[in-house]
Amino acid sequence: MTNPAITNPAITNPALTNAFEYAPAPESRSVVEIAPSYGLFIDGEFAEAADGKVFKTVSPSSEETLSEVAQAGAEDVDRAVKAARKAFGKWSALPGAERAKYLFRIARIIQERSRELAVLESLDNGKPIRESRDTDLPLVAAHFFYYAGWADKLKYAGYGDNPRPLGVAGQVIPWNFPLLMLAWKIAPALAAGNTVVLKPAETTPLSALFFADVCRQAGLPKGVVNIITGDGSTGAELVAHPGIDKVAFTGSTEVGKAIARTVAGTEKKVTLELGGKAANIVFDDAPIDQAVEGIVGGIFFNQGHVCCAGSRLLVQESIQDELLDALKRRMRTLRVGDPLDKNTDIGAINSAEQLARIRTLADAGEAEGAERWAPECELPTSGYWFAPTLFTGVTQAHRIAREEIFGPVLSVLTFRTPEEAVAKANNTPYGLSAGIWTEKGSRILWMASKLRAGVVWSNTFNKFDPASPFGGYKESGYGREGGRHGLEAYLDV
């Protein structure tokens, strides 16, 4: 950075150039009280698994055990589905306005408890408190507010005069946005009059269990929301259970395909929110500084554990050097570390398993000849960590350009013309999201119409809103969550 031609003593004298170091600014853990163990939340009560099995959930930033939770088996799944079925009659028969008020209550209680829930989420998931506080929790509350308002307006949603709920929804959610994905699933389901059995991810069960307490505080009728914790086998039991009418899944494309096979030949309605390998396309006339922010936010937000992450940077060759210099400069300022520190930009990788997968793919990137770069970055000694990394010299044939890494790893590719950019962006089985950076409006609209992706961010990236439909093309899944479109998934239409 320092140019030797500059003769000002303030620059050349290192004694005068102390960096502005931020002291640790930890958010207090004491706002959340985690019990040593949690049962399954079925029919309004917490109970142990029928076979008494439990598993531990750990904090990925320290590997400390946070709590022990029940491992639901087939019998527990059955009990939860039956509880939801039993509750369905009354719940679906409630006037929409009454259901709405329950959802409004939930939204308000989440707002009231947002600091506690944000800390909990950062502890269990490893994401920076800045994100759980400023992104996850506000969006969770907003999602309940949004769908609360639909509950008594369903006949105006464009799905007929008297759209009916489906029944019992079996919902399986991932570990990257535990509470937000819960909100995306439960809010529209309840608004439409369904009851739910939800299984949070194995590594992040706690916020869903706290949500059970939110339901208790809101006075939600028993059995309307049931939370069962467990691993993939629990999810498989739930999806296959003959007593559910609807499957909603967010997670990997591989599991999504297995679910699609499982429900084949049944009457179950399915929505799948799966993987992605989004192209973030930067043209030479882009607003460069904002593009750099968008690239950084696109891939390093939430440690890159984002299905719509902008994991493939497609940069126009004419500005490749300039953009990469700026990107590297910006990456050097990223602060990796304690998720509870308010100044942390990148937290912990969610699990040892995920860390291993990221490492494997990053190693494959190197082995296949791409050039790896990461800023100097001191990583904590315990917990699961991966430095923000970018690969240059990547081609469409590389694994790191095709497979979803789901980590803070950016693959940089180049293009020469808009047509080439579109061809490369679409050259993937996925189709969840894409980004376009250019100051030329007509080019944005042309590009947006050509990109085969469910969400296109132009001159921005990774923006979410309860009013905005979200979901993929092709192997990124089907169905939409959010907005008026999100209701369809929970109505018999």
Partner: protein, 362 residues
């Protein structure tokens, strides 16, 4: 823990800070304020200012600014949590960067002398508080300020004079140049000029460029020393309205020889904002990358609290880094900010909240 720990030799709140910052106001006194290589690189860009058309094409060819993204970035940096030792560091750094300002029609020599005394010794009860960077006054008060600073034992505190028909800039060029020369002759270390926003907004970029260049010439001291007052160029960003205009004005001023670029006069409805300042920080960063010439940035107007000031320092830290984190390269144009910084400083050293009776009214 992941973050590097605070250097051990820097204890909490001590007068070590004052010593550290005291020698920092060391603006280069030669013109140009950069080495020969940078001068060459700058000269190589002469063609972009050769004609009105060339300058327009250059300025309009700068990357666009997405307003929403810029504002979001500034807001995100505003959420940084600066605590304990970092806060102490930032407060003293901010004090050392203040251009303590009085620009009122009602200014008198007495008022200016009081301000100078305050700038030299911001907290009479605590000598460890650093001096401010400069006292900023109208040109007719320069001599008074110079003398008052010397008498207060703070001649290293600079005197900055506004000039060029501040704040509107609406006067004949000859008047603006005379205004500048008078201030320099009276001993001003720094000149804060305003650009002709009318000319800029109507697209007469070369006229604005020429005016800055001539004011820069007028900053030369007539004493044969070959030195010159430092030139800060005020854009009045609240009148330029768009971020694209601010980026263009930044480049235009830097090409014309500005030593500092400054947001505002403090006399219009919208003064310094974090996004505008961030954009100008990006401009000086890019300008140094391109030419090798380092230019300072001064947000002015509306920065009243320590919290605000620290947010600006975070912007500097994360956009430019340590190279700009001195009073040589970053300034606050402010008046009431100083007392809030002093109260926060007292809170940090005593652990209890201070009140306005425990700081001086200037």
């Amino acid at each position: 823990m992941p973050h590097k720990s605070f250097p051990a030799e820097r204890p909490g709140v001590t007068f070590g800070y004052a010593r550290r910052y005291a020698p920092l106001v060391t603006m280069p006194t030669t013109v140009p304020a950069y080495g020969a290589e940078a001068a060459e690189r700058l000269a190589s860009m002469a063609d972009v200012t050769a004609t009105d058309g060339a300058l327009r094409r250059f300025l309009h060819g700068l990357p666009g600014v997405d307003a929403v993204g810029l504002q979001a970035r500034a807001a995100a940096l505003g959420t940084r949590s600066i605590k304990t030792t970092a806060k102490a560091y930032a407060i003293d750094l901010a004090i050392s960067m203040i251009d303590l300002t009085t620009l009122e029609g009602a200014d008198t020599p007495g008022k200016v002398r009081a301000l100078c005394a305050k700038g030299v010794s911001p907290d009479p009860t605590d000598r460890s508080v650093p001096k401010v960077a400069a006292i900023c006054v109208y040109s007719d008060m320069v001599a008074t300020a110079k003398q008052a600073l010397a008498e207060a034992g703070g001649s290293e505190v600079h005197v900055a004079s506004v000039a060029t028909a501040f704040p509107s800039g609406r006067a004949a060029l000859a008047v603006k140049l005379a205004d500048t020369r008078e201030a320099v002759a009276a001993g001003a270390d720094e000149i804060d000029m305003v650009i002709d926003r009318g000319a800029f907004l109507s697209g007469r970029y070369l006229q604005v460029f020429e005016e800055i260049r001539q004011v820069k010439e007028a900053c030369r001291r007539a004493d044969g020393s070959g030195t010159a007052a430092h030139l800060k160029v005020i854009f009045e960003t609240g009148e330029l309205q768009t971020y694209d205009n601010v980026r263009r004005a930044s480049w235009l001023a830097m090409l014309a020889g500005a030593d500092f670029i400054k947001t505002s006069t403090g006399k219009v409805a919208v003064n310094a904002t974090p996004p505008v300042t961030l954009l100008m920080l990006e401009a000086v960063r890019d300008f140094r990358d391109t030419t090798g010439v380092q230019v300072g940035v001064k947000p002015a107007g509306g920065i009243r609290t320590s919290k605000d000031a620290i947010k600006y320092l975070v912007l500097v830290n994360e956009t430019l880094g340590a190279d700009w984190l001195t009073a040589d390269w970053f300034r606050f144009g402010a008046s009431s900010l100083l007392n809030d910084l002093l109260m926060q400083r007292q809170k940090l050293s005593t652990g209890r909240y201070s009140g306005p009776d425990y700081v001086t009214v200037d």
